[in-house]
């Protein structure tokens, strides 16, 4: 079990009562996100697809590493890691 800091992006802060970062314990990114879902109603719905994968338009980094380049939700975390949840920004005219 590791203690990590999760950074919450502006569009998701209404779900976390305005908190921009939350301390959570867990062994993998998936575990951390599921814990956050149990703490903050609606969190999982915004971040996870069917509770199993990260939504396509969300990027999650453990420190500097995108979890899509690692083991997705099974990516392990270590004590003191920072998890950043970032909206994917795109569009065009």
């Amino acid at each position: 079990m590791s203690s990590v800091t999760v950074k919450i992006p502006t569009p998701l802060r209404p779900i976390t009562s305005g908190q921009s970062e939350v301390k959570v314990e867990g062994a993998t990114v998936g575990e951390i996100l599921r814990t956050l879902d149990s703490q903050f109603k609606g969190f999982g719905e915004r971040v996870l697809e069917d509770g199993k994968n990260v939504k396509r338009f969300i990027n999650i980094f453990v420190n500097e590493d995108n979890i899509r380049d690692k083991k997705e939700l099974d990516t392990e975390v270590r004590n003191g890691d920072t998890i950043s949840i970032l909206p994917s920004i795109a569009g065009g005219g």
């Binding site: 569009p11 970032l86 920004i89 569009g91 065009g92 005219g93």
Partner: protein
């Protein structure tokens, strides 16, 4: 309402004109409240190479770097700017489909390489529709 210092807006315009005929994008950093005030900005890479003239995909690593750069300061990402080469400064369907609430989306129309107009938009998430917000050009600091 969003206020952008004239000097910052000019630099953003420079980025959009230098990127023409391709789209460019970046992040505006400032204070978020009922009204947003932009203090500075950071350019970001457009990863969409196939349709760079009418699409942008912001490099998520650039966004991570900006988040980290300002995490100890009272400033935060308040919005995104991007250019519309030879198109109006209004959101496209793709802009609307991919938009997030709370951020301001400043769209800059670049006609034949020169900025023609800029407008700021905020998504109403329930309606999945953009509404224009006043864009005020503040004094340079």
């Amino acid at each position: 309402m969003i206020t952008i210092p004239a000097s910052v807006l000019r630099q953003i315009y420079d980025h959009t004109e230098a990127s023409y005929p391709n789209e460019c994008c970046g992040l505006m950093v400032g204070s978020m409240g009922k009204d947003k005030v932009v203090h500075t900005f950071r350019t970001c890479k457009n990863l969409n190479k196939e349709r760079a003239h009418d699409r942008y995909d912001m490099d998520p690593l650039d966004m991570l770097r900006v988040e980290r750069e300002f995490e100890k300061s009272p400033l935060e990402i308040v919005g995104i700017y991007h250019s519309h080469p030879d198109h109006p400064s209004k959101p496209s369907q793709t802009d609307t489909d991919r938009a997030w609430p709370d951020y301001s989306y400043v769209i800059i129309s670049v006609q034949k390489g020169t900025v023609a107009s800029a407008q700021s938009w905020v998504l109403n998430e329930g309606e999945r529709k953009f509404y224009e917000e006043p864009l005020i050009t503040g004094d340079s600091k």
